[in-house]
Symmetry: C2
Subunit: 488 residues, 2 copies
Amino acid sequence: MRVTDRRTLLQAAAALPLTSVAANIAMAQAADATDAAAKAAPPKDVTRTLARYLVGASYDALPANVRKEGVRTLLNWVGVAIGGSRHETVDIAVAALGPFSGPQQASLFGRRERFDIMNAAFINGVSSHIFDFDDTHLKTIIHPAGPVVSAIIALAEMQPVSGKEFLNALVLGVETECRIGNAVYPNHYDVGWHITGTAGVFGSAAAAGKLLKLNEQQMTWALGLAASQPVGLRESFGSMNKSFNPGRAASNGLFAAILASKNFTSSDGMIEAKRGWANTISTKQDYGEIVGELGKRYEAALNTYKPFACGIVLHPAIDAAIQLRNENRLKADQIDYVDLKVNPLVLELTGKKTPQQGLEGKFSIYHAVAVAIVEGAGGEKQFSDRAVTDPMVLSLRGKVVPVITPEIKPEQVEMTIVLKDGRKLSRRIEHAVGSVEVPMTDQQLEAKFSDLADGIVPAASIRRIMDACWNVEGLSNAADIAKMSATA
Amino acid sequence: MRVTDRRTLLQAAAALPLTSVAANIAMAQAADATDAAAKAAPPKDVTRTLARYLVGASYDALPANVRKEGVRTLLNWVGVAIGGSRHETVDIAVAALGPFSGPQQASLFGRRERFDIMNAAFINGVSSHIFDFDDTHLKTIIHPAGPVVSAIIALAEMQPVSGKEFLNALVLGVETECRIGNAVYPNHYDVGWHITGTAGVFGSAAAAGKLLKLNEQQMTWALGLAASQPVGLRESFGSMNKSFNPGRAASNGLFAAILASKNFTSSDGMIEAKRGWANTISTKQDYGEIVGELGKRYEAALNTYKPFACGIVLHPAIDAAIQLRNENRLKADQIDYVDLKVNPLVLELTGKKTPQQGLEGKFSIYHAVAVAIVEGAGGEKQFSDRAVTDPMVLSLRGKVVPVITPEIKPEQVEMTIVLKDGRKLSRRIEHAVGSVEVPMTDQQLEAKFSDLADGIVPAASIRRIMDACWNVEGLSNAADIAKMSATA
C-alpha cells in the first residue's frame, strides 16, 4: 500500500463518527467480498492511463477522418451557440451572472457582452443546447461539443492557441467524455443522470487541461476534480435546467483544469477507485471503453449532427418529405393526402394533431411533415409559433395520415404522397440524414448554420465564421472564431 | 397530467436516439412495475413543500435552543475558516482563481484578498474544512456550516442583511441539508458520495435563496438547480479535493439561488421525481425526513463541534488525559505509564506508534494521549510537525499502553495513569466532550477559536470577532463579521 493510499484511508477514517466507523467497516468488508466474487480483475490506473494519453497525444497523430469530424463538430457547435444566443434562457443567465463576472476575457457567441472565461463557458454552453439541436454521440446520447468547445473557446481567448492545438484539444475532450460515457451507459443514464453533464465535465477538463499543458499528474488531478462535479438530472428536461447542464459541465471542467494547473491535488484513481466516480454513479463500469485502444479507436469520429430541430423519431419522415418535395417541385395545394407508414413509437411520442405553439410542433408528426413539404426544411424556424399557425401548413397537416406499421423500424419510414392529379410519389427511408449511416453533408451543415445565425450576425459574418471553422487548422489563433462570432 | 409534465416528457423523448427510446420505454415500464411493488405511496411535492417552508419561515419562529445552536455553529465556522486560511490549499486556490474573479465583493476569512461572492464562497468553504475540524451533524456525517455559511456570509457583504435574518438563513440552510442527508443516509454515503458536498449544495441554495427573498416558485427552482450540482466523492479524501467539496457546494448553491432569483427555471420535483435527485443518487429515500415536522423538529439543534483536531475515535482518550492532567497538575516526568482500555477500533484506526509528521499524529493513540498530557490540549497545534517531534511528547508516548478491550464501546475509554510515586489516577469516559451528550461549552468553543485564529488575526480582533458572533442577532449588518475576520 502506497503512502498516499494509506493517508487517504486514514483521513477518511478519521473524519467518521464512531458508530459509523464500525458500521462502515462491516459494510466495506461485506462489499469487498461481493465485489471480489462479481468482478474478474480490479481496474488499474484508469484515470492515470487516460491522463498520460491526453498529455502525450499530439495533433499530428490524429487520423484525417478524426480531424475532419472535429472540424464539423466545431462548425455545428458555433452555429447552435449563435442560434440559441438570443433565447430568454441566455438573457436570464447573462443578467443574473453579470454582477459577478470577472474581467471581460471571453466572448459570448451571438451577443455583445464579454465575461470572464468561467462564466463565458457556462453561458455559451447554455446557448448551444437550448434548441436541442446540437451534436449527438448516438451510443451514449451525449451531446459532446457543449461541455468541451464552450470551455476551450473561452480559454483560447485568454491564452492564445493555434488552430491545430485547439482542434487537438477539442478531439481529445470529445474522446474523453464519450469513452467515459460508454463505460457507464446505459445504466448511468437510465437511473436518471443527464449524461451530457456528468461525462461532459471530464471532456471539458481534459480539453482545457490540454490547452493549459498540464503534466500527467496535473491532468490526473484535473480528471479527479472533474469527477467530483457531475452535473444534471433527467428530471430537469423541459426546463431551462436542461441547457444549464452542458453549460455547467463546461465551467466545472474548466474550473478543475485551472485549479490542477496550480497543483491543487485530487486522488489518483478518481474514476476507477472503489469509492470513485464510476462505482458511485453507475451500476455498470466497463473500463476497457475508457482505456482500450487509445489513439487507435476514436469515438470522436462517430459524432453526428441533427439536420432537423426536433426529436430523431421525426427525422425519417421529414427527410422523405423534403426529398419528394425537392425532386418534384411540389406545392402544398397539389396534394390530396400523405400516406405514412411509421413505427408505433412515432405516434406514441409525436402524435399531437393540432399543435398551438412552436414547441408543441416538435411533437407532431402531422406538423413536421406538412411544414417540411411547404418550406423544404425542418429547422428551428419550422418549429416556431409562426410555423405552427401558418395557414398553408395548417391545411396540409390535416392531410397527413400516419399508419402504425410494426414492421417499420424506428429509423425507417415509407411515405406515399398522393396528388390531386392521381399521381403517387413514394419514398422509403432506411436511415435519415444525420445518422451515422447517412451523415449530414458539409453543405447541409452550412445550410443549418446559416439558418441558425440568420438575423443574429450579418450575412457576411456568417460566411466568414464558417470559413474560419472549416479552416481552423490554418488559424494561428483559434480565438478568432470567438471574436468574429460575437456581435458589435 | 399537467402541461409542464407533458412538456418535460416530450422534450425528454425528443432528445433520445431511436434505439434508446425503445429500450428506455421497455426499461421504464419494467422499473415502474418494480417501483409500484416496492413503494407504498409515491412522494408528492417534496421539493415544493420544502420550498414553501423555507420561504415562510421567520426568525421569530425559531426556538431559543435552535437560535443558540445556530450562533455556536457560526462561531465555530468562523474559527475554522480563519484557522485554515493560511494552508497551502487555500494559497493555491487563491492564486488559481484570482485572474478570473469578478468585483472585490467579499472577504476571505483570515486573508487580505477580496473576491466576487461566488469565488469567495468557494475559498472560504475550502478554508473551513482543511483541518477536518469543522462542525458535524453526527446522524449523517455532514459538516453543515461549510456549504451554508460560506455562501451567505459572502452574499451578506454584497447585499446587507440584519444579523437576525442572517441567523435565520443559516439555520434554514443547515436544516435543509441535514434533512435531505437524513433522507438518503447511509446508502448514499456508503456507495461513495461525500455527503457534505452532495447535500450541502441544497443547504447553500436554501440559505442564499432565503437572503435573496426568493418566492416559492423561485425557491423550488433554486433547489432544483442545486440538485443538478452534487459535489464530491469519498475517494478524494486525503487530498485537497476533500476541502474542495464543501467549498464547491457553497458556490454551486449560491449560483443556483442567484439564477433562480432571475427566474432561471428548473423542474418542480427535482428532489423526489422518478428521475430526480434522491432516486438517482441513492438506493434509500425517506422523504418524511425532509418534509416531516418542518418548523417543529430541528436537525440544526443537533450540530456538534470537535474539541480535538483529529478523528473522533481518539476523543475519549484525549478527554480523559486532559481531565486527569488538569485536576492533578500532572507533569510528564511524574508518569510511569498510562494504561488505556480501548475499543478494538482505536488501534485499528489510530495504532501508529512512531508518527514522524503532524498528520500522522492524528492516527496515533500514543501521540494523542502524550501530547494531551504535556500540553493540555488536542488542537491543530498538537498535531503539527513540531508536536510529534517534541522530546517530552516523544518520551511520554512510549509509556502509553493501550489495551484492546471489546467490552469498551467506541465512544468510551478507561484510563489509568500510574505515577512513579505509586499513585494511580483513573478516569472512565462514557461520552467525550464534543458529543451530543456532552457538548462543548461556550468557553471551550472560545478556546478552540482563539487557538485557531492565534497568529492569523491580532488578539484584540479575536475577542472582537467572537463577541460579534455571540451577538449576531444584535448586528444591523451581519457582514461585519466577515469584514473584521479579514486581515489588513
